[in-house]
Amino acid sequence: MKSRTFLLTFILFLLFYYSGILIASAVTLKSNLDSSKDRSLREHYFIVSSYAKDLNALEKRGASVDDVIGSLYRSYFDFYSKQKVILAISKEGQQLYTDLMAESAPFPRTPLISKTSDRLVSTEKFKGKEYIRVVGAMPAPYDTYVLAYYYDVSDIFSSWNKMTVMLLLSGILLCGLLAVCLLLVLHRVFRPLQQISAASRSIAQGQYENRIEVKGHDELAEMAGSFNHMAEEIQSQMLQLATIAEQKQQFVDNLAHELRTPLTAIYGYAEYIQKVVRTEEDKLFATHYIMSESRRLQNIAHRLLDMATYRGNKIELSNVHMGDLIRGVKQSVSMKAAEQQIQMIYECRFDTLLCDADLMHVLLVNLINNAMKACGSDGIIKLVAQLENEHKVISVQDNGKGMTEEHLAHITEAFYRVDSSRSRSGGGAGLGLTLCKQIAVNHEAELSFSSAPGKGTQAKLTFTSR
């Protein structure tokens, strides 16, 4: 591209420059010749008329024309030859007094002129010199004599030649200069392109943080800008993909751990029954654990299935009466709340909510269960449904142990446990909040948490779309 542009520009320049020179010099030459011709015509006319006058005067004094014409011609010839003009005179095509011109010419015969008033102008070349020839008859009564006027224009031609050579030489010099300048300019122009191609290569190799320096406000800068924008987009998308992949990996790792622990226990207790157990009590003890661990696996499987279902299916929204919804939730949690001696408070400040009643029930029960785990006995859990900035908001507030910012960021991740040991003393499969989040997303609602260690946690569900 660069070399092509260079060649093309260069050739075009040469073409225009030299044709310019050619035209200019041709025009100059032509105009010079034209003015010389005019001058020659005028002079010819002047010479011819003064010649005729002189002849006339001499004739009146009684001299013969044929004699006088020779002497007159001699004096005229001498006078004009100093001005680079050669005069020739002829009668009926016959060159007269050729001896004078011996040193300067064998000039060709002066052509015959049909009409006496006509004058013939032409450029002739003799002995390597250019001449303008004007041929014309003398005025009557001497019109049998024809005067040829030769004006030497070699100077014009030689100066024209000199000028042409000068122009050509300067042209070559200019071409050299132009080539250098053009290369520099092209280098400057193409540098951003090279940078862009280098940057795109490095991006293709996975170095997404590479950017191009943007200078000025021209089209290239604009292109560099949009290229940078593209690179940024790619980088952020790649980052997103990497994060998603990492989350997936985390999920799989966690799932493996979650499955491995109960499996170890189940296998271990089965082995224990097979190889060690001798009393009925031992057997009961072992089977109890096998059953509870199996249930745990089942629980995980159910939750995973639920999540897959909620993710894939579009939910059907209907206007659900808040009273019904809260009554259902109350029924589900009241037993456990009473067991743990937790005080439940329900507040509702709007009537209906556009949602899927079953899913919303699952979500709220899950949130309350989490709150119960955090509380221990003598806790207070408050479920509040109210309007905030014209958005419907349902919040679940507990006064339990709370958690740090660091944990808050991860609690909706599958299998994430606030306790790093992943102990199940709190129970559950570690999928509850992941499920809640999925349900919230299905309802186009935002699920957020705020908490401080020792001060309890608030889960807040904000319905943004309505």
Partner: protein, 215 residues
């Protein structure tokens, strides 16, 4: 036998390990988090620590760095190579990834104890006394002639006492992986041991399973 500290927060697995170790005659101390483990270690004389890595309060690696000196086997659900290498470079005596078989745990516990425990390695039951150091067996104070394989078999039974061992397992443990032979070899040797040591009621046949030395 040895005193073993079990540090594991998953209750079912904790119970399982404890019961298995107790059945082969070890004394177990149970703790469920890192801090308690350090407390118990300060109070008791412990021969071996079974240490889970993911623990509440203080994690396994940290606990291990503070108990330098006591033989330790790491138990963990993380089975990646880097985790194993980390565990072993820290200086652990062994590393066991969940899920594991109890037999494997017992074998490793025995191996570590054999390496680290300095006191005599005798086993006594009824009138039988087994001296593992000199590889001698005594019945009521009188030495009993045993072939090397019979002694190996007895050692396996003693180390895994109260645990039923299949004939295949016994072949593997006493004869080695590369032994090509009938499982009836095991039956023959067991019969001989029972006769020589008068252990008919101790070495029990477990139906459809194998044999168990009951203590």
């Amino acid at each position: 036998m040895a005193t073993i500290l079990i540090v594991e927060d998953e209750v079912p697995i904790h119970e399982l390990i404890k019961r298995n170790l107790q059945s082969v005659g070890h004394t177990c101390i149970s703790v469920f988090d890192g801090r308690a483990a350090l407390d118990k270690l300060a109070q008791n004389d412990v021969d071996l620590v079974l240490l889970d890595i993911m623990l509440p309060e203080i994690d396994g690696h940290e606990v291990f760095q503070q108990i330098r000196g006591t033989p330790t086997i790491f138990l963990t659900a993380r089975s990646s190579l880097s985790d194993k290498v980390k565990g072993l470079t820290l200086g652990a005596d062994d590393y066991l990834a969940k899920p594991f078989e109890m037999m494997e745990l017992l074998a490793r516990v025995n191996a570590v104890l054999r390496r680290t425990k300095k006191e005599s390695k005798d086993f006594e039951l009824d009138g039988v006394k087994v001296d593992f150091e000199s590889r001698q067996v005594f019945l009521n104070g009188y030495p009993v002639e045993c072939t090397p394989k019979e002694f190996d078999l007895l050692e396996v039974l003693v180390n895994n006492r109260n645990i039923a061992l299949s004939r295949d397992k016994l072949l593997e443990l006493a004869w080695g992986y590369d032994y090509v032979g009938d499982t009836r070899t095991v039956d023959v040797h067991i019969q001989k041991l029972r006769k020589k040591l008068d252990m008919d009621c101790r070495i029990k046949t477990v139906y459809k399973m194998g044999y168990r030395l009951e203590v």
